[in-house]
Amino acid sequence: MAFEIPKILYNGAIKENPLGKESNRITVGGETCYPFHLFEGNMPHPPKIAMEVYDATPEDWAQAALDPFTDVVHDPAAWAQKCVASYGAEMIALQLASTDPNAQNTTAEQAVETTKKVAAAIEVPLIVWGCCNVEKDTEVLKRIAEECTGENLILGPVEEDTHKALGAAAIAYQHTIAASTPIDINLAKQLNILLGNLGVPDERILVDPTVTGLGYGLEYCYSVMERDRMAALTQEDERLQFPIVCNLAKDVWKVKEAKLSDEDAPLLGDPTKRGVLLEAMTALLFLLAGGDILIMRHPDAIQLVRGFINDLMGS
């Protein structure tokens, strides 16, 4: 007898979110099946990769990650332009790491200025990511929302503690937000409900499940994303039917294994290729779990993953 492919009965779909400026919209989401299960549903918008840009010259970076950008690390706008022009970035993610009160503690005004410069330098959608300090993010991201009306930025992380202030700003100044919760599907759902209650339109909500890198608890994030998609697609869990953004590069490259030289760790092979594979593999696993937007760093890793998306989407 011929083998009959067992298919899953889906009864939900991921919402479609238009991102970026009016003139250059790209859309994410819209899936009606598990990731790349194209034999039983659709992924109208293949996952997108956003390239990271930092608001201040990075310190303590692995040489491998720094190499491609040594000419632009001092200038976020030039960095962003290089990502688009040289590496074909589909989106840019501006990491406002220097606003961290435990780091340089740069001001909201400085962050606004940097964001404006980067936004003006590129046409692709811009993600603006805070430093994960509740008070500071509220202040900084709110100001950026006010000052950058019309850009349709993606502002993150928006946590339960900041959701009112940042949600309201997103509504008023028309930006998209990344709703961030710590690796827990119920908390994710709860925050999405709260944002809905606040009046944030669904097409302006992305979900950030909080991700970590390979070897550092990746499995927790992986499973939360898989569960998120199951609930969204097979349980009609309407408040989980949002595209997922994975801010993965900073955690991948932070760990010691991504930084060790070949002298220090002869068993870990070539440091650049190792870093690239750590990042690409983390990204691929999150793609398989349901990621719609991957925030990545190294051009080689991005190229590998982009190729992989095409292969998985291809016929």
């Binding site: 009112k164 202030a165 827990d184 599907i185 339109p201 349980q235």
Partner: protein, 735 residues
Amino acid sequence: MSKIICSAAIRGAHKIVERAEAKYQEAMEKWGPDQEVGFPNTAYYLPVIYGILGVPVKKLGDVKDVLDRCRSLLPDMVDEHVWLPYLAPALDAGMTTFFAEEIIEAIRYLESPDFYTKTEDPSNGNIWLGAADDVILRKRGVEFVDGTAPGFAAVLGAPPTEEIAVQLAQELQEKNLYVFMSADHEGRSMSEMLVKAGVQVGWGTRLVSFGPEYTATVFAAGFATRAAMSFGGVKPGDFKSILFYNKDRIFAFAMPLGTVTDEWYANAAGAINWGFPTIADTPIPEVLPTGVCTYEHVVSNVPHDQLVARAIEVRGLKVTVAKVPIPVSYGPAFEGERVRKDDLFLECGGGKTQAVEWATTKDMDEVEDGKIELFGPDVDDVGEGGRLPLAIVAEFAGRKMQDDFEPILERQIHHFVNYAQGLMHIGQRDIAWIRMAKAGASKGLKLKHIGDILHAKFHQDFGAIFDKVQIKLYTEEDKVQEILEKATGVYHQRDARIEGMTDETTDTYYSCTLCQSFAPNHVCIISPERTGLCGAYNWLDCKASHEINPTGPNQPVEKGETIDAKLGQWKGCNEFLYKASRQALDHYNFYSIVHDPMTTCGCCECIAAILPLCNGVMTVDRDYAGMTPCGMKFTTLAGTIGGGMSVPGFVGHGKYNLTQRKWIVGDGGIKRLVWMPKHFKEEAAERLKKLAEEVGIPDLPDMIADETVGTTEEEILAFLEEKGHPALTMDPLLE
């Protein structure tokens, strides 16, 4: 609606429309139809007209159509001899009032461009700000969305004295409300009085001096209308959504101070369309029945010192307490903190003294929100190592408050008190036990702070279901006894309430998916006679929990068509289960242990297991650590059947459920029970006896074996035979 109000509003609307028409004629003659007209720096044209009618007034000529609409909408004057209620015509009159006022104000911008400052704050001696531009709207509107400003008070006229003006403004500011001021009373205006008294007005202080005339009231309506379009995503012309957005989200009200003229009535009628009630200081007729507004429409003759409180109550504005005002740290991180004997400063309850907790419902006028009273000695009066009896009474009032919520709220006292550093709370009801640590006392912690904690936390977490709460603490023996007696009566009533309910007469059960965080496919469905297996949730609790948090883990489940009445299976429950279990299960039975029993998450109080040789069932509770006749200890059983599986032969259940009529009734019910731990039997003795009598075997409790009889099937079988246990002669449990 009051005929007087109605007639006045319609009269006022006529006057205002006539005034607008005259202004329009004048302006047309002067500037012609192509003259641009509008409020400064806004994309919303004349916002009320744009929002409600969807008509963008750009030029003077566009005004004509709007005035025609006013005329067709404007109801006839009320006849002396007609006695019908007039809500609809009054609302229409109110709406035309706003249209006409916008036209009047727009022409004013044309006639006297410098009449308003067009800024955020007064400038060059001019205090009249005029309509908010879009920059102000966004900046301030954000505060309405994120809750830092819940709404606004549209104040018309002026209070009798500057002192009252200042006090009112302050009170409104304290509630984070914006104050939109317009119109005068006998030549005085609230704005001018504040300025004279040295109070800063402007958007910065939230005391917004819109304009000197009553027509400037329309700027408040315009602000609200634009908020709906800007923040609610409502399209111009979708008047219904605009009005509902305001009713549901913008906590605003009109506060006329002084003689209410026909024009003021017309404006008040307009505000009602937006769901904004009127609270007046003069003895005008009241409109109490609810309808368009959430609660009353017009409340009058309120003394000045009660105006704000009354307005907040009538508009249904919720109090928010951002921080728990106590001298020690507060948060869930301190919940598990223990106060040991050596650290002990003060102790209430715990067998040494009586302590009791009681949440109860009162009428609105019996409760003053935030009032905290202590009757009897406090920490300072007893000294280190002291003991006090304690009764904590939380008195709730609210339009949505129900008796059913009382136990839910009461149970929170445990968590809320525990969150405080230096306080430990154990137990509930009349076995409550509170310990205060020396470290807490030295930081100035008092018993009265328990009141502050409860007031703040109840509002934070449960504000949706009540409006006001006051806390009474008693530390005198006789008072505590008095409360105890009252409370015990209520406890019994509560228990009896669920007792009286049956599954057959209940169509809606409730789900509980609280445990899906660790048992992802597990779904509890709770009926009146099958309480939650964790023991924490009965049907009433779930119902209340659903009302408190409509999107939470307790969802109503329509049980639907009966598939098997004996085993307890319903179509609606199955459908819910299928979806909520992520398609892992498509059915289970409520009343069976043998045939597809309900799933178990792992946090069940007891686990029942079949004993095939005895043709019966045993149950073991979590506290019994020994071996059981089924060959497995509680922990092994929990590991075997937990995790959201339906495991025939085993089922998790609550202690209370054991003595409910429906416990495995599909397999024979309580008559199958052949073994249970001794301490559990003693604990459940009274209810077990009652149920045994009900099923016609009054000495059943004595026939049930326990560990003193044996912990193997063989040992207890002999006992059962000797006692003539009914299970032995029942139909075979396993076919």
